[in-house]
């Protein structure tokens, strides 16, 4: 006869078994495997060979990986502030709750719902130099994606275009959660709408700013589809975001060990960002949008 405690444990582990299998096999084990792989050389076909810290040395001293990290940093520095500013502006307009606002709010989210790969392919046509939408409308050839100075800003702009509506939702929820009495009191004290925005709305949105910044950084650091379809990392590595360079190293150059090192570097950076997030943001903030 089993005691109730044993039965409860059996039941608990029984219910957990499938997800535990998934977590161990497809999340924890890969993390061990990637550490292990970082010390081996493998070209996807031949035998796997131990090389110690060779991969680490070669990746960390490789200027093209340095370039990739720098490009990613620049990309984050353009995308995150831009989508926050535009998202805040959109939210401020939506927060007036004029008739028809719901339709606009829904429209703005559509790019974010869509497949990033399909969206990038779509923009590749719009930006195509000879028969693209913009070039034909403007009547002149513009090398949006192959000009070394334009490429990264353009890839960033497409990413911002995709994300603005999503970021706006969080600001909208934040703005609507501010008790109307605070605004009413300020109005009685003679504050105009501009002053109220700067002195009340913005400071009260501080948690939202933090949330959209951190999630923005973590997701921008992993952008892959957009670069894959728009530029393939070019011209001359100017848009070689780190997720794309991991992919190219592993499945283009067939240097799995080096790709593993690059993935681990990205992992350490992302965990760093997440830890910062937790230090400042212990409690998850959830908003209710009605």
């Amino acid at each position: 006869m089993s005691t109730p405690r044993v039965r409860s444990a059996l039941l608990g582990y029984g219910l957990l078994a499938p997800s535990l299998f998934g977590v161990v096999c497809f999340l924890l084990l890969p993390m061990l495997v990637v550490v292990w792989l970082s010390m081996y050389r493998w070209d996807l076909l031949g035998p796997i060979r131990y090389v110690g810290l060779d991969n680490w040395r070669s990746v960390l001293t490789d200027p093209s990986f340095g370039n990739s990290l720098l490009v990613t940093l620049l990309f984050i520095a353009i995308v995150v502030p831009a989508q926050i500013l535009l998202g805040l502006a959109a939210a401020a307009m939506l927060a007036r709750e004029l008739p028809g606002t719901g339709v606009f709010r829904a429209l703005y989210v559509i790019p974010w719902i869509c497949s990033p790969l399909a969206v990038a392919v779509l923009w590749r046509w719009i930006l195509a130099p000879t028969d693209g939408a913009i070039s034909t409308l403007a009547g002149q050839r513009i090398e949006w994606l192959t000009d070394p100075t334009l490429a990264l800003p353009v890839v960033s702009a497409v990413t911002v275009w995709t994300n603005v509506g999503y970021v706006a939702l969080f600001f909208l929820a934040g703005i609507l959660a501010i008790p109307p009495q605070i605004h009413a009191a300020a109005r009685i004290d003679g504050a105009n709408s501009w002053q109220r925005f700067w002195r009340i709305t913005l400071p009260m949105l501080r948690p939202t700013f933090f949330f959209v910044s951190v999630t923005g950084v973590v997701s921008a650091a992993q952008v892959f589809d957009t670069v894959y379809a728009l530029t393939g990392g070019g011209p001359a590595g100017r848009t070689d975001l780190v997720a794309h360079s991991i992919y190219a190293e592993a499945f283009g150059a067939a240097a799995i060990g080096r790709a593993a090192v690059m993935a681990l570097v990205l992992f350490v950076i992302l965990v760093g960002v997440t830890i910062v997030q937790h230090l400042y943001f212990r409690r998850r903030i959830s908003y209710d949008l009605t």
Partner: protein, 273 residues
């Protein structure tokens, strides 16, 4: 001081500009997809197709997009079903049962939220290759089938808020755990289940990097991979390529149109894709 009417007009103008910037690329792409290649070569992107043609879509069928659509739908359905089922079971155990090691395991699950997909692609590829599962349907779905720590996290919070009386009443009636989950817990959790379903469908339908590396050829090719392949193969045939992006995008836009209110809510509640 600006009058309220004038400032409202300004706001509508701003909202309209943003809406046009959002919708225009989709509209142009949709128009191009029903334009014949000949007319595309001579007209401008704004000229209306005359007559509109479905020839690009039939050409997609010849390029194997029908199969890609089926594979994508099947992959999305199976992963969503598996992920929700196993996440519900795990969340129930974490939320409603007492056993040794429960809290430690829960924190292990939460810790794995920090593992990004970009980092696990390379080792998962090696593991699948070692098991001989490269370019199989199993390889597409296995890594995501057994539940998602994030879904478990959200469901656990929800299950904890279900009143004890509701569950105890069912147990007194002799219901076993599975009965309790199916007949009491699930009906009480419809909003969060709908949220998770929508979010999982969207992210799986759109997934690209994993299918790209683990499949090859037409057999298990999903829509995103097929679209990318078409674009690099027929770079100049934009009418065809825009038909492909439309096929990849439209099902989700329709889903969004139907569940718009719920999806918008879900995004804010979960904060994640």
């Amino acid at each position: 001081m600006t009058s309220p009417r004038r400032s409202n007009a300004l706001i509508y103008a701003g909202l309209m500009v943003a809406a046009v910037l959002t919708v225009a690329p989709f509209a142009l792409s949709l128009l191009t997809s029903v334009t014949s290649a000949q007319q595309f070569a001579t007209g401008t992107p704004l000229s209306l197709p005359s007559p509109p043609t479905l020839s690009n879509y039939t050409a997609l069928g010849d390029a194997g997009f029908g199969r890609a659509l089926m594979v994508t739908a099947l992959m999305t359905a199976i992963i969503t079903l598996g992920q929700l089922t196993f996440s519900v079971l795990a969340a129930y155990a974490f939320a409603r049962l007492e056993f040794r090691g429960r809290d430690g395991l829960f924190w292990l699950y939460v810790a794995t939220l920090m593992v990004p997909g970009t980092v696990t692609v390379v080792p998962l590829y090696l593991m699948m290759a070692e098991m001989g599962l490269r370019n199989t349907f199993w390889a597409l779905v296995l890594p995501f089938l057994f539940g998602s720590p994030y879904a478990i996290f959200l469901l656990r919070e929800y299950f904890r808020s279900i009143p004890d009386d509701l569950l105890n009443a069912a147990k007194l009636d002799g219901a076993n755990t599975l009965d309790v989950i199916v007949h009491v817990v699930l009906p009480a959790s419809k909003p969060i289940l709908a949220t998770l379903t929508l979010i999982t469908v969207v992210s799986q339908w759109n997934s690209f990097m994993w299918p790209l590396v683990i499949t090859s050829g037409e057999r298990w090719r999903v829509l995103t991979v097929a679209t990318a392949g078409l674009q690099s193969q027929y770079n100049a045939q934009w009418t065809l390529v825009m038909a492909a992006t439309t096929v990849a995008i439209v099902p989700l836009v329709l889903l969004f149109a139907i569940f718009q209110r719920h999806i918008v809510r879900s995004i804010v509640v979960t904060g994640l894709k």
